[in-house]
Amino acid sequence: MDENVIEVENLVKYFDGRCVLDGINLKVPRGCIYGLLGRNAAGKTTMIRILFGLEPSTRGWAFLLGTESSSLSRKVKGRIGYVAEGHNLIQNYKVGRLVKLCRDLSLQWNSEFFAHLIEMFHLPMDRRISQLSIGMRAQLNLSLALAIDPELLILDDPTLGMDTVARRQFLELAIDLIQQQDRTILFSSHILSDVERVADRIGILAGGKLVVDCALEELKNRIKKFRLIFPESAPEDLHLTEIINQQIQGREMVITVANWNQQKQAMLDTFKPSNSTEMPMSLEDIFIECTKPTTVTTAPQ
């Protein structure tokens, strides 16, 4: 349990009879930056909320720093920084009052670092939270989460509403933080280029399941996309397993396959394509391929 800062075992969550999380298993080792991806309503926020004990699970277990999520003690919470989706800060408070409240309730507070963050983000201490822009709220929330020197940082779409410069600052902060010993970050985001820049492990939620959970480099090696040109019309079935996507148009076939290996390459070679080109895939391409329904389409010639 100590090696893994986050552990999720067979986590199931139903909302009004609809299955949002369907038997999720996840382990995040210490010192890892874990990027949790998924389309809207895929269950990312629900999973993070269950992890932090804000939402009860229907079945299964979630552990943070070795403690069951639904019974996190003050001491354990004091080691975790959390930025919620939508940055639900207390709207009618002034920034200064909210900061004081957080400082008084925290077990440890790095005033110097917090002052540096406030200065960097140009956050006004005398303005009400409701008068701040979404981006400023995000920056304030992030600063509050970082000021406690967290051992584990959980960020639910933290860069939502931030401009490009602020996002870049955030990413640099995240990298700085991880360079400190034993820090772990779990974050979900829709901006895949951000995730690709900082994450060293990726999880993709689709249809209530964690369809991908591996290192970023491994993911890029495992999923391959080819454009194949056949001498005559393209065969409808290549007898390959784990086809994520396949499109046929006359002699041309574009195919995406998971867990690419030599056996699959050999099987493909038996169809003797006259041209085979591997198409480079970014994380965004992989994400789109993994989250859209598996399709095999044949277009008229």
Binding site: R49, P56, L72, K75, K77, C102, D104, L105, S106
Partner: protein, 207 residues
């Protein structure tokens, strides 16, 4: 805990101001009752603001604490800090108790002082003031607990009306049972049931 209580007081300072004003009015009325020749008539004048505080003020405070928490997602934010739900609710309840004491303590002290200064025309039971204060505290706290319970419910009208009806039933119990041990037991049981229900709801609710 002190920070959480301080936050609750600052956020609901209007109720404390209201409590202070009500206390001042009640003390003035109490003194005028003692010095008047027509105690029953003036006594009713004392009873009305007292009932208003207990029936409307305290449930409103409890409901307001829970309702603003839900709408402003205060507990959701606080739960992101090193604070447990038990602490949040405990701080809230302690704030409610402080509001009740803001009204009751000065009243009890005034009544005690007046009793020692002016000998009553007929001998009275020496523990009467303490008995009355304890019962009034339990009654006020029971009404406050009802407010807490109704404030955390998503639908607004039914629980609010229900709480109001229950409060209206609770308060006249004093007229039926007096200030003796029976009413104290009833009120303590009611408070335990109400707080347990609120605790269960608050603990298991998604924030």
């Amino acid at each position: 805990m002190f920070t959480l209580i301080k936050r609750e007081i600052e956020d609901h300072v209007a109720f404390f101001l209201g409590a202070a004003i009500a206390t001042a009015i009640l003390i003035v009325l109490l003194v005028s009752v003692i010095f008047s020749h027509d105690i029953p008539v003036h006594g009713i004048g004392l009873l009305i603001p007292g009932i208003v505080v207990v029936v409307i003020g305290l449930p409103a405070m409890g409901a307001s604490q829970m309702y603003t928490d839900r709408t402003r997602r205060i507990s959701a934010f606080l739960s992101g800090l090193p604070v447990t739900r038990s602490w949040i609710l405990a701080a809230r309840i302690i704030t409610g108790i402080l509001a009740i004491l803001t009204v009751l303590l000065p009243l009890t002290i005034t009544a005690g002082v007046l009793r020692s200064l002016l000998l009553p025309p007929i001998p009275i039971y020496p523990g009467l003031i303490v008995d009355m204060s304890v019962t009034a505290f339990l009654m006020a706290f029971a009404c406050y607990c009802l407010g807490l319970q109704s404030g955390w419910t998503a639908s607004r009208i039914t629980p609010t009306l229900g709480a109001l009806v229950l409060t209206c039933i609770l308060v006249p119990l004093i007229l039926v049972k007096g200030f003796g041990p029976h009413i104290k037991v009833i009120l303590i049981l009611f408070i335990i049931a109400s707080l347990t229900c609120t605790w269960q709801k608050f603990r298991s609710a998604p924030l």
